[in-house]
């Protein structure tokens, strides 16, 4: 085959020197015999399960006739301090045995009820020929990771007599799940290790994404509702009012630093970027200090100018926004359980917004000027799923849909005022 290829390349050189038919080379390589074993796949009953030397040491006598066991070839090897080779099995893989998925954060997910103990079921899938006997000993380790790849929790189980293609159960208590975030995906990685007869540590891996929830979890964001409201009463809704700029006090003390040129006016002319962000973690709103980039002005001018760029913002707490439901008639604030489902990174990251505009305000030295920014809110529907039932493993099997709404900023009010 390879000779044919070389001959054809030699013939082609006359027409196009240095040209190699890569497609032909690729096809030839694909036709060559495969030396590597097939990757792991669930075994079928039609394949007789022979005894494997890696799993059952007593079967070493049959090694000459028996097919290779669970880990016949190494994908990656490393030498540990105990001189044990670690090998990733090419014939065994772990799969998570789950029953049902529900829409969570707009994506199909397996949901576990965090209010009780749970069981995670793992199947050790071994490709044919499947060994007849069980692994005498195995260690299974679970890692739970958040979306930033931080390990939230890990737990190890030691087991005996682990049969290939069997489903194994692993228990986790509510205390162990306590630190898990609710309503958002958690990456679960399972790693099963066993020692082969050649003193080689063989392991199989599996992973899944799961959501842990208490009572409610967010199914998806719904539509926006029509009516806008403003937290117009500064006294009642002070935490939504952000004073981003205030004119300077131009008394005799401050005039001393103006190079002997007395200022009679002040003037603000700046491009301002104002950002609205949401916070799930905080119970109160957070004001971002205004930052200015001022252009150097005319020192001889009789006006103290603030020309340049400005940026500021507010971090609105979801708890505070929940209270704003009262701006609309007959709209109750959400219960803590429902609010917990909305304190979710998908709601927070999907609701950030900003505006950029030019601000102009000027006045006399004796006048005081201020610029306030407040959000204009609109209610948005969110669909929550309420857990109705879960099975003995803690896996949610039935939910009930419930629509709730919470105000979010859609516009901003800019108010520039000065004393008369």
């Amino acid at each position: 085959m390879l000779k044919d290829f070389i001959d054809s390349q030699a013939a082609a050189k006359g027409a196009a020197p240095d040209a190699i038919n890569m497609n032909q080379l690729l096809q030839l390589l694909q036709q060559m015999p495969q030396h590597a074993p097939a990757t792991a796949a669930p075994a079928t009953s039609s394949n007789p399960p022979p005894v494997t030397p890696q799993i059952i040491p007593t079967a070493e006598k049959q090694a000459a006739t028996a097919p290779p066991a669970i880990a016949p070839a190494a994908i990656a090897k490393s030498l540990s301090k105990h001189n044990v080779y670690r090998t990733l099995s090419t014939r065994a893989i772990l799969s998570f045995e789950t029953k049902q998925t529900f829409l969570a954060n707009g994506k199909e997910q397996v949901i576990f009820n965090r209010k009780g103990n749970i069981k995670i079921k793992i199947k050790l899938n071994v490709t044919a020929p499947v060994p007849e006997s069980a692994l005498p000993k195995a260690i299974t380790k679970f890692y739970f990771k958040d979306d930033s790849n931080n390990i939230l929790f890990e737990k190890m189980f030691r087991q005996k007599d682990v049969s290939p293609n069997s489903v194994l159960e692993y228990d986790f208590t509510t205390d162990e799940l306590h630190s898990f975030p609710t309503g958002i995906p958690v990456q679960v990685i399972a790693e099963m290790k066993w020692l082969s007869s050649q003193n080689t540590e063989v392991k199989a891996l599996g992973s899944a994404e799961m959501v842990f929830a208490d009572l409610y979890f967010l199914k998806q964001k719904g539509k926006e509702l029509a009516e806008e409201k403003e937290p117009a009463d500064m006294k009642e809704h002070r935490s939504f009012w952000n004073k981003i700029w205030e004119s300077p006090v131009m008394d005799e003390a401050n005039q001393a630093n103006t190079n002997g040129v007395k200022k009679y006016h002040w003037q603000l002319q700046a491009n301002v970027k104002y950002t609205f962000m949401l916070s799930a973690a905080n119970e109160s709103n957070g004001l971002m200090e205004t930052k200015m980039l001022i252009a150097e002005g005319d020192r001889e001018s009789l006006t103290e100018k603030f020309e340049g760029r400005m940026k500021a913002g507010v971090e609105l707490s979801i708890s505070e926004l929940n209270k704003m439901n009262s701006l609309w008639d007959r709209q109750p604030v959400l219960s803590p359980e429902k609010l917990a489902a909305l304190k979710n990174p998908y709601v927070v990251s999907g609701s950030a917004s900003e505006f950029i505009t030019e601000l102009k305000l000027k006045g006399r030295a004796a006048q005081k000027g201020m610029v306030y920014i407040i959000p204009i809110l609109k209610r948005f529907d969110f669909l929550l799923s309420k857990i109705k039932s879960s099975n003995d493993a803690g896996e949610v099997t039935e939910v009930e849909e419930e629509a709730v709404s919470i105000p979010l900023p859609v516009s901003a009010r800019i108010l520039g005022i000065k004393t008369k």
């Binding site: 957070g286 930052k291 505009t357 005022i417 004393t419």
Partner: protein, 60 residues
């Protein structure tokens, strides 16, 4: 009411806020009459927000 203060962790980046984009004032006229005793209202604008993706919220 307790208000938290957050601070920008970074100074202005090159070109930040200097971009041409400017949010348009909302066509709707102000529906609420704001009154500040002793003050005159010089700016009263309603501006529609643009959704943004915040990569690191502490960067402002």
């Amino acid at each position: 009411m307790i208000m938290r203060k957050k601070f920008y962790s970074k100074p202005f980046e090159d070109g930040e806020v200097a971009e041409e984009r400017s949010n348009e004032p909302s066509p709707a006229s102000p529906e609420i009459e704001y009154i500040f005793d002793g003050y005159t209202i010089e700016i009263n604008e309603k501006i529609v927000l643009t959704p943004v993706q915040i990569i690191n919220k502490n960067d402002g």
